[in-house]
Amino acid sequence: MFGLNRKDQILFLVVLALVVFAPFILNPFPEDSGLARFNAGYPDLMQRFVIFGIFAIGFNILFGLTGYLSFGHAAFLGVGSYAGVWMMKLLTVNVVPAIIASTLVAGVFSLVIGYICLRRSGIYFSILTLAFAQMSFALAYSVLTPITAGESGLQLSLSDPRILESAAATGSIPATNFFGITMRDGFELAAGGWVFTFNFGYYFCALLMLIAFYISIRIFRSPFGMMLRAVKSNQTRMNYTGLTPKPYTLAAFVISGMYAGLAGGLMVAVDPLAGADRMFWTASGEVVLMTILGGAGTLIGPVLGAGVINYFENIFSRLNERDLNAMFDFLPDGLQNAMVAVAQLFVGDGWLLTLGLMFMLVVIFLPGGLVEGGQRLSRLFGRRKKPSGDDPEHHPKPAPHVAE
């Protein structure tokens, strides 16, 4: 089916199911229970899950396959966002031109940056990409203010030309839509104590993520994907086999740049505001964390990593003392206070501490990321089943992640 082998088909169907039923899966706790704080099934966060999923899937095509660690991918995301908002300002608030433009503009931008940065490999490549991303950030933040609106961020305004739209002056900025389906709209389903939100913007992003995921599987399994793994493995042998590693790496760089641009475009499709902070180096670092946490070089890893990090960033960071007190209510008073005091370090602003600890644990004990953790668990519980085949992508070795 779709040119995938059985194993990949199952993987794809699992992701499809997860994405379609996400509003249920992410809302396991009834609305009025104390644990409702841990529900993640609201549109804004669900959109972030799939958008960062796309970002990480693309990053993984570069990093997971060729081993080239880019620290500047947020620049492509930011460029994609700006291109998207400009399309909405100039043409129409329909998201289609915006998304196409963000992908293409990010592709061209990554072609230029990749061409220069790929003159070096290893740590020098990483530093070059970082430098380029920071330059882009600085340009967007101050120098290019007429294009990027600098500090305040680029947004839609009433005076935009929007030449593809009928000049119906309604007195308000129209909402972003996909041929009439408004991104921020949706419907709610109340069942028992639960309220499930189905948001059109989320499903639109999810559809594109599934397409992006499918393309990534095809690339991983193609001769091109094999060449990219060869780049990571031994460039000397490639040269003496009559191949040139650089165009392969550059192609992977541009593809991952386009994925980042698509993610940036979707961000403005659901919320038409593009700021320079999206290009800051911490944003680039985040996608590196997502990919490594989930499992670099695996198909599903980046999606998992994006989910986990966004969950922590948005759920743990909102917990406060009151929530903790409620959580540990069942304990005797002294113990409750002690638990709250300890747990407080890890929530709210301390969520980065939780993330850092988790990242360290994963890198030290599960070099293959969460995917490796899942494999170990399934091996532990599924002994009776025959051991799975020796699939190189799903058994990443604890090899250094950076190309030498």
Binding site: G3, R218, I219, R221, S222, P223, F224, G225, M226, M227, R229, A230, K232, S233, N234, T236, R237, M238, N239, Y240, T241, G242, L243, T244, P247, Y248, A251, I255, D390, P392, K397, A399
Partner: protein
């Protein structure tokens, strides 16, 4: 008229004259060995021929076309393959994939973006890859990760990767370095087999006299960057200059 004609090649590294006035004529379908003590310039010569180094002077022509100034991948596309002293293979990939990559390189050239094609469709290349793996007796290891092979198997795999491209000239850089006697004999056997089965010219750099004398049709002795003598193995064995420069030294060690 040789398939590989090297004339007056010289190469300096700073104050060190690594090669001077090296002339070499490798006859088609022969096995030509280049021997010499450590530091004689054997590997430098090889590196000049595959595009890793550019010599300061002289010419080197393969099949009538100059190889100097060309990049390694271009020289490979001309029909020269190289086996390294330490096997250069794709360790993270399976044995089968290791052999498929040169197949793709041969058919598609230096770069092709076949991102949406599936491997299963390439039956012709798969057939070639399986055939060569059968030839080097590694077919049963086709799904093993190349990094986990034994040293001897890595060498076999590297040879398979070179041979699947049907090169006209195979350059071997100390193919038995660090091998046990048994592995060395296996390699000699393999090389003989290759020689019998196909029209291929081999230029081989080797320390091990046993290997050289069992394989070579002609031998060039290199000492301090210059060719001392070139002749058949029988004549080289008894040559006084060679004994003095190379064999004599080796015996003293």
């Amino acid at each position: 008229m040789g398939i590989l004609e090297v004339k007056g090649i010289g190469k300096r590294f700073g104050g060190l004259q690594a090669l001077s006035n090296v002339t070499l004529d490798v006859v088609e379908n022969s096995v030509h060995a280049i021997i010499g003590p450590n530091g004689a310039g054997k590997s430098t010569l090889l590196n000049c021929l595959v595009g890793k180094l550019i010599p300061d002077e002289g010419t080197a022509a393969f099949d009538g076309h100059s190889v100097l100034g060309r990049k390694p991948h271009e020289i490979n596309q001309m029909g020269i393959s190289r086996v390294f002293q330490t096997p250069e293979i794709f360790g993270d990939l399976t044995v089968f994939e290791n052999v498929m990559i040169p197949c793709f390189a041969m058919r598609d050239g230096a770069f092709r973006m076949h991102a949406f094609e599936s491997m299963e469709k390439e039956q012709e290349l798969i057939g070639m890859a399986e055939q060569i793996l059968t030839d080097v007796r590694m077919l049963e290891k086709r799904d093993v990760h190349a990094a986990s092979l034994s040293r001897g198997d890595k060498r076999r795999l590297e040879m398979a990767m070179c041979l699947v491209q049907q090169p006209k000239l195979l350059l071997l850089d100390e193919p038995t370095a660090g091998m046990s006697r048994a592995d060395t004999n296996n390699t000699i056997g393999l090389l003989r087999e290759i020689k019998e089965k196909r029209d291929i010219t081999m230029a081989i750099i080797e320390h091990d006299m046993h290997v050289v004398f069992s394989l070579a049709d002609r031998i060039t002795v290199l000492a301090q960057g210059t060719p001392l003598v070139e002749d058949t193995p029988e004549k080289i064995k008894g040559h006084p200059k060679v004994r003095e420069a190379y064999l004599g030294q080796a015996h003293q060690e």
